[in-house]
Symmetry: C3
Subunit: 279 residues, 3 copies
């Protein structure tokens, strides 16, 4: 059944600050089954916000480890058969145990292999799907959505705006009973009934590899400390993109931006969020 | 048939600036089948210069993805059977489709396993081979070259100077109809008929892991926007090593040099190249 | 037979400076079979101190490469079957050839899969085992130690203090004839007969991913240039944690700390060690 969630700007700022406090206080253990490019920065993002990362993907232990974790994040960037077997076992464990799990469908639509992997993972019911606009449209199409003007991704990059993905995102959220996060210059978060868009962050966030993948890891951390996945996702996006604003005020090129962004995730405070948030 | 390519210093500077402009304008999609140590910095180097990296290596999709890419880079650093199967499929695809592909034969000569892998990959005709002096000598020997005084690499490090590799590099370029880049304190680029040496860059580039591997990725980007592989390779080396000079003017230790180098690849301009290039 | 090793504070400082000099002079080739998160920083730590890293883990070549290396480091962070096969072959090679090898049992105790992997590796006789307090207690239990109050790790994080691990560390060192390093706010090094504790370093070292894993790599480098594993381990810990002190004087947040730490490993001198060391 649909729930209507409306908060004022100040209430969203308070919620984001509350979720940030809880991550720092509870240090959720986030299991990441992620690509090789994203591992370093995902772990460092999680440590910077106070969470506890673990990269555990072997089929022999991924389900058992999921039982110890507070959230699971599956990112298909550098996909392979052993990886997919471990991801499947962990996704089943997370769904069975009622733990939040986040799907990051990197490059879906680029190859049939990725499409089949995503179809399989969708059957194990992610709580949240986080992708760029083209990826979200591709996932919706794989799930049966037929009304769109999608022209396909370019490698792992989006060729669509978030606005072009809005209809697909709403449909996918309703159809899969999950929260969808479509990121880009504008970020869109929807649970199929409620939708919010945000326009914080810096273009430099697209110039450092895997900052988007690491966002999915951070969404996992936030969803483990706040039960409503839609609100947790919005809190995560607010914190992450305002940290991007703070970092862009310190660094104007991608090498130094990466360092400044990790520092900003460590430094960001409730008062930063309250003074900077625009809705 | 041999082509004689001679440019003045100013013409080489103009060519390098032109290739840099084209990379930034066309944002070539570069498929990297590379080692686990090099993935992060290779992706960040490509993003810093404006290209689009994708790390896709599974045999199930590597050839299909190559059809979408503008260039392929294969680096055998952390070699394994599944990696090699994906690399082979992608190399066949690149060669068949006439796409430029770069081979980085990390550690060839250190083990028989690496030698066999390189022999197999040579059959699929790389456009460009980029290695240190000992690696280039080792590849030439595997391809039949018999006149050298090579004493073998030490792990993945060179024990030879670029000068000692010159004869092997020329032979290998002629014999395999490809461009050879032998890097070191002096960098040598040859297509078997034309040869250029460059001596830019900083010793600090050897103190940060995988800066050489990331150069191979950048060579892939440049060769996808400029058809002549010899000229594209020289342009890549000019841009990359002058960025090294710029970074070394900002940072004197390896941690901060890595950050400064990524920033320099973002910042480097035609006028930097024109004012700094020495031939 | 037990050897009693007692040095004054100044003698330990001299020994650490001597080991640092030897690493810089001899540039030992350190083979790392390590997890995907730790590869980048392990390689950069080794390069910063002047050693030569190589990440070679395939079963087809790991033993052959070990014969070329000066030390072997096995870290089970992102464990999988192919990795374990390569690690086993290399460990047998190192033990047979009498080369120092360091085991970093990441996350042991968290899953039965990790426990079985560690049991297998222990049979091939590591020279040094480096873990956090909970990991050292878990390894000791797997080896038969029965007197402890261990409550199990949390993911890959310790829930115990080094002091709580002291008894297990001593037992494990005596029983396995190796050196044990239990790291935390206080670091404990023991060969079963001699024990030293150190309290240098910064809390920020736990806020950057894999700085502990990279320490294991550095211990490998030190143990290859100084025969007594207990002394080499203490020298490594002194150098590494004082570099942490130096970095923490430059940077107060995790992103910039990582950069400052790599720079500090490059910059650290005998006089830094002599002036800063506290025992």
């Amino acid at each position: 059944m649909a729930t209507t969630i409306t908060h004022s700007r100040d209430e969203w700022a308070d919620l984001a600050a509350h979720v940030l406090d809880r991550v720092r206080a509870h240090k959720p253990l986030v299991q990441n089954i992620t690509n090789f490019v994203a591992m370093d920065i995902s772990a460092n993002v999680l440590l910077a916000v106070g969470a506890a990362p673990a990269m555990v993907h072997a089929e022999d232990e991924s389900a058992a480890f999921c039982a110890l974790s507070n959230a699971l994040v599956i990112n298909i960037g550098t996909l392979s058969e052993p990886f997919l077997a471990g991801a499947k076992a962990a996704a089943i464990s997370a769904h069975t145990l009622g733990k939040p799990w986040v799907l990051d469908p990197v490059g879906v639509g680029a190859t049939e292999y990725r499409n089949q992997a995503v179809k399989m993972l969708l059957r194990h019911r992610p709580s949240i799907i986080r992708g760029n606009a083209s990826e979200i449209i591709s996932v919706a199409k794989l799930a049966g959505f037929s009304h769109n003007t999608h022209t396909g991704p370019r490698g792992v990059d989006s060729t669509n705006t978030t606005d072009e993905a809005a209809q697909a995102a709403h449909w996918l959220a309703r159809n899969n009973l999950c929260t969808i996060i479509a990121t880009g210059a504008v970020d869109l978060i929807t649970d199929g009934h409620n939708t919010l868009t945000l326009a914080h962050g810096s273009e430099l966030m697209t110039r450092v590899t895997a900052i988007g993948c690491a966002l999915s890891a951070f969404v996992g951390a936030c969803s483990s400390v706040h039960e409503n996945a839609y609100e947790a996702s919005i809190a995560a996006l607010i914190i992450y993109t305002i940290a991007g604003d703070l970092a862009a005020a310190q660094a104007t090129r991608p090498g130094s931006f990466r360092t400044a962004f990790i520092d900003a995730l460590d430094a960001i405070s409730a008062s930063d969020i309250k003074s900077i948030l625009r809705l």
